[in-house]
């Protein structure tokens, strides 16, 4: 089966050319410094949105029908599975694979079976670690992030105005317990999860029409399902590519194992039995039970379609082991069933530094998540000793540490007013010495920029916007601050609020991915020089997320990812994103309740939302223009102050065991891509 649907030749050609160029450049340069990578990298685009019309979903019936039953098996499998087949514990590989398996390209060469991939995770709150390794969705982003490619689903199709989307499943595909995967599994998700008011009081955003009604999903035959929206939806595939149970949320599903989950659902289960199950597992309602049972991260028994499935362990265990799924739909170009690697073992580390130390001593085979970029020199110097090498996958754009100002802050109305004042934010931006931040917190990598896409990305709004307000100009900052009435100062020289109360900006930092604490401390120092007092508050992740929701955070440092994806998923530019962003929790509420609660956004933010909505229903050409416009508004209003971007700070410093093969030198790196999931870890293997 062809991996790319090829009508849109020019685009593909460009993609291929970029890939070749990238590889050539990478090959020329023995030790590519991480800074060089982003320029070479093909941009992540929302290209697929334009493609599906030409995507005549692979004709399901064609190929296999003609085949005579072969005596010899068509596909090859891992030795451990072959033994199980011999022992009669498992059907033969040809029966386990669908009629048309997914053929996954390998980055370098055909692999060998075996081995355990050692990774590390930080405990139950690090559930997305699992999501990123298996990236178990109907469709996926490609390794370079430039397009959506088929995965568990075989293909898709849409009508001319993008209101109808037909998704084709693979006949013969199976869940990890051997049960067939059919259209009923999508219908179960639609009827019994999405439309169930108890499970989902508000249906997931991507399934909601412009008028507030829910899009319809219907089963055309056992392997064909049609989505119908009331308006054109060009972001459908992008959304579908992220329906993989991420964020431990059933809202992020688009198919589910009906045969297994029915026992937990009141529409199917015996009432008494279900009640007993709820009681026995210590829950109050069936909803709680179902939510836990519906995701493989929290329930090892839940069948999946991923390359590896949980082996009697969950994210709550000290060692979370994933074993090979004998029914995985993917094969390599030579017909070897994937994955090559037998087992993925996630080991719990309570402390990030200990995790980094384990990486330095070569105890991890493949890890980018939680590797601290400031440890790059240590990692680099110990490459030989640890038997690994470091690959860098810089992010697509945005900024790797941004200050987000809560536009709906209410705890202190005077400070809230100030945060909404554009001049104040502009002044703080001018007060930042981004060169110093770059040197001290980013190892000199990247460039000073606002949170807009990378220059090689079609959505790039232009230099003027990318570098707007980024020069270090304390005089201008002082002038602006004086201009908005912050003229009185206290004994230490810090500016007072107009009421005479002290002004103190709290910068919330979650010690998650970058060394944002340092960025925060540098900002405190630099803002202090223009008389704005600030302090850094380090909070645990779960607490900070909860405070985002309850509108308690004043300012937060996070990274500005998702700039390549403003029209799908949960972009940082959309105040309606879920989970809530620091940028405007009350705006989110306002939109959610149709203006009944929360805070009405000002005209500029309404414009932002309008542009996003328009982009979702526009064709590619318009989409690019709209995105550029969007990022101009975004950079100009500076609701978030960007610092330094285009660095591998966010999960882009990849420690790779020297024996681990097929890990690409360059790859798209962003949360929507589920990096490294988009690089197809199924095709990684250990050379022996």
């Amino acid at each position: 089966m062809k991996r790319f649907y090829t009508n849109h030749r020019t685009l593909l050609l460009i993609g291929v050319l970029l890939m070749v160029l990238t590889l050539a450049l990478a090959a020329c340069n023995a030790a590519p410094a991480p800074t060089q990578a982003p320029a070479e990298k093909p941009a992540a685009t929302e290209a697929p949105a334009t493609k599906p019309t030409e995507a005549p979903a692979a004709k399901p019936t064609e190929a296999p029908a003609a085949e005579a039953p072969a005596a010899e098996s068509k596909y090859k499998e891992a030795p451990m599975l072959a033994e199980m087949v011999k022992a009669g514990e498992l059907p033969p590989v040809d029966e386990r694979l669908p009629e048309e398996p997914l053929v996954e390209e390998v980055a370098k060469d055909i692999g060998q079976y075996g081995g355990t991939l050692r990774r590390a995770f930080l405990g139950p709150s690090d559930h997305n670690n699992y999501v990123r390794v298996v990236y178990d969705a109907l469709v996926r982003f490609s390794p370079d992030g430039s397009e959506v490619i088929p995965h568990i689903a075989k293909g898709w199709d849409s009508n001319d105005d993008f209101t109808e989307w037909t998704v084709y499943l693979r006949p013969g595909a199976k869940w990890s317990d051997g049960e067939p995967l059919t259209a009923d599994d999508i219908m179960f998700w639609y009827n019994d999860i999405l439309l169930n008011k108890d499970l989902m009081p508000n249906p997931a955003n991507w399934m909601v029409n412009g008028d507030g009604s829910v899009a319809t999903v219907e089963k055309l035959d056992d392997y064909t399902v049609k989505w119908t929206f009331k308006q054109p939806n060009t972001a459908f595939l992008l959304d579908l590519a992220n329906k993989d149970g991420a964020d431990l949320s059933i809202a992020n599903l688009a198919y589910a194992p009906a045969h297994y989950l029915k026992q937990f659902h009141p529409n199917y289960a015996d009432k008494d039995e279900l009640e007993k199950m709820v009681k026995d597992s210590g829950f109050d309602t069936w909803v709680e039970l179902f939510t836990v049972k519906a995701l493989p991260q929290t329930n090892a028994d839940r069948p999946t379609t991923a390359a590896w499935v949980p082996d009697n362990s969950t994210v709550a265990d000290p060692v979370f082991t994933l074993k090979r799924n004998p029914y995985y739909v993917g094969v390599d170009p030579e017909g070897n069933q994937l994955p090559y690697i037998d087992e993925v073992r996630l080991t719990f580390f309570a402390d990030k530094e200990a995790l980094n130390l384990a990486a330095v001593s070569g105890e991890l085979d493949f890890q980018a998540r939680h590797i601290n970029m400031s440890n790059y020199p240590v990692l680099k110097e110990n490459e030989d000793k640890g038997g690994y090498h470091v690959v860098t996958w810089p992010t697509f754009g945005g900024s790797d540490a941004v200050f987000m100002f809560n536009q709906t802050y209410q705890k202190d109305p005077e400070i809230g007013e100030l945060l909404r004042n554009k001049d104040f934010r502009v002044a703080l931006s001018y007060a930042l010495d981004r060169e110093a931040i770059k040197e001290l917190a980013f190892l000199g990598l990247g460039e000073a920029r606002q949170g807009v896409p990378a220059p090689n990305h079609p959505y790039y709004p232009g230099d003027e916007w990318a570098y707007k307000y980024t020069e270090h100009d304390p005089d201008k900052a002082n002038e602006l601050l004086d201009g908005i009435g912050l003229t009185e100062r206290d004994a230490d020289g810090y500016r007072l609020l107009p009421s005479g109360k002290p002004l103190d900006i709290e910068i919330n930092v979650v010690p998650a991915f970058g060394n944002w604490t340092d960025v925060g401390q540098l900002a405190v120092e630099q803002w202090g020089k223009v008389g704005v007092k600030a302090h850094v508050e380090v909070r645990e992740r779960a607490l900070a997320f909860q405070m985002r929701d309850t509108n308690e955070l004043m300012t937060e440092i996070w990274n500005e990812d998702t700039t390549g994806f403003p029209f799908s998923g949960q972009p940082k530019m959309d105040p309606r994103s879920n989970p809530a962003l620091t940028f405007g929790p009350l705006f989110r509420k306002w939109y959610e309740t149709n203006g009944a609660e929360g805070m009405e956004p000002p005209a500029e933010i309404k414009k932002l939302v309008e542009l996003i909505d328009k982009g979702k229903v526009s064709g590619r050409e318009d989409q690019i223009k709209i995105a550029q416009e969007l990022f101009k508004v975004w950079a100009d209003n500076i609701w978030e102050i960007g610092t330094v971007g285009l660095t591998p700070m966010i999960q882009g410093v990849v420690v790779v065991n020297n024996n681990l093969q097929n890990v690409p030198e360059t790859a798209g790196n962003d949360w929507p891509l589920r990096t490294p999931g988009n690089t197809q870890p199924e095709t990684y293997y250990f050379s022996q």
Binding site: A33, E353, N356, K380, E381, E435, A436, L443, E525, R539
Partner: protein, 402 residues
């Protein structure tokens, strides 16, 4: 104190002196004997503190520790003077500068200087690599001008113990203990950290001494119900494991408190838990002393209770309190350090030893910048010095120790 000598203290002291004499080396003997002859007459009339001092003087290690503690006290009072550079100022191009060695002799003459340093980021590993530029000698001056600081909140000055030629320490820096990841001068941070950590120790000990003497005194002197209540309170406090309690209390501190508020809260928390041992000891003393003849005498002569306690009883164990307090200070310092190290105590931008160590608690520092662990040495020296000093004081002050 002269009028209320502790019964029996003088003969004891004398005996001890003779014992010690025999143990001393011949060389010292002559000198000591000379002093001895001078002092023999004095011993009988010497006040308590003088006797204590005489005995303390002979504890060489304690004497040395005393000097260290005096030096620490100076740093605590004048951290700005001992610093070379602004402890909070980060320098973009100066991260991870290693310790710069001070050379004292330049071509045979005493002209202290440090060599200049040149840093470059290694393009392969991205590490800042520093090498010494032997071409460039930066002369070290004493009492040089540098950044401006406050002296005890009284006045501002810019004179520092060590610096370079007028005004350009930022261009020709001296990093006596290197710099951290943000290019901040480690030596100056250590000086300011010393002030915070040591004062937390001192103040919290002061508060616990106050509480200990007050509550222990009430308990011991009055007995009965107050004694019962106070003693049970002490038992409860002592039965609670100290470390989790500190952690719980500090964790319960509102996170939006300012640096000063946290500082005082930590001090109070340490003191509120720390007074119990002293309270017990004071109570015991009171129990013994209230039966003594001189207390009875005071009572009979119609002295008020306040006068009996503060004029007659407390002075008899001043020295004991001081010794106990000295021994308690290192415990407090360690507690602050480890609370801050765990991120529960003081937090940046406050500088304390715990904060400094906490910031060094990462792979980068351990692997590439081991000088960032030097604040640990400061903690060890201080704690040892205070412990030895406390031991010496106790030996000298306690007449019953032999």
């Amino acid at each position: 104190m002269r009028d209320n000598p502790i019964p029996g203290s003088e003969p004891d002291a004398q005996d001890e002196r003779f014992e010690d004499l025999t143990a001393l080396s011949a060389g010292n003997q002559a000198r000591i004997r000379e002093e001895e002859l001078e002092d023999t007459a004095a011993i009988h009339v010497a006040p308590n503190w003088k006797l204590t001092w005489w005995r303390f003087k002979k504890h060489r290690l304690a004497l040395g520790s005393g000097l260290v503690v005096i030096f620490l006290a100076l740093i605590v009072l004048f951290p700005g003077f001992f610093s070379t550079m602004d402890p909070q100022k980060s320098r973009a191009q100066q991260s991870f500068v290693p310790v710069q060695r001070v050379h004292f002799f330049d071509e045979g003459a005493f002209r202290p200087f440090v060599y200049g340093i040149v840093g470059k980021r290694n393009p392969e590993t991205l590490r800042m690599e520093w090498r010494i530029d032997e071409e460039k000698k930066i002369p070290v001056r004493f009492f040089a001008r540098g950044f401006e600081y406050d002296v005890l909140g009284l006045f501002a000055t810019d004179i520092h113990l060590v610096g370079v030629k007028e005004g350009d320490i930022e261009e020709d820096p001296i990093y006596l203990l290197g710099t951290d990841r943000l290019g901040r001068d480690q030596w100056s941070r250590l000086m300011y950290g010393t002030r915070v950590s040591v004062t937390i120790g001192l103040i919290s000990v002061f508060i616990s001494v106050f509480l200990g003497v007050l509550l222990g005194g009430i308990s011991g002197y009055f007995g009965g119900i107050p004694d019962l209540i106070i003693q049970r309170m002490i038992e409860i406090l002592q039965s609670l494991p100290a470390i989790p309690i500190w952690m719980a209390l500090t964790a319960a501190m509102p996170r939006d408190w300012s640096v000063e508020q946290t500082y005082f809260a930590i001090t109070l928390i340490l003191a509120l838990i720390g007074w119990t041992t002293l309270g017990r000891e004071v109570r015991g003393r009171f129990l013994v002393l209230r039966e003594e003849d001189f207390v009875m005498a005071a009572k009979l002569s119609g002295a008020s209770q306040k006068r009996i306690i503060f004029r007659h009883m407390v002075p008899t164990f001043y020295s004991h309190i001081i010794a106990a307090a000295t021994l308690a200070v290192p415990v407090m310092i360690i507690s602050e350090t480890f609370l801050s190290f765990l991120g529960l105590g003081l937090r940046p931008p406050a500088i304390s030893w715990g904060v400094l160590l906490q910031e060094a608690q990462n792979l980068q520092s351990v692997a590439l910048a081991p000088w960032l662990l030097l604040p640990g040495v400061a903690v060890i020296i201080t704690v040892l010095a205070l412990n030895i000093l406390g031991d010496g004081l106790r030996d000298a002050a306690d007449p019953y120790s032999h």
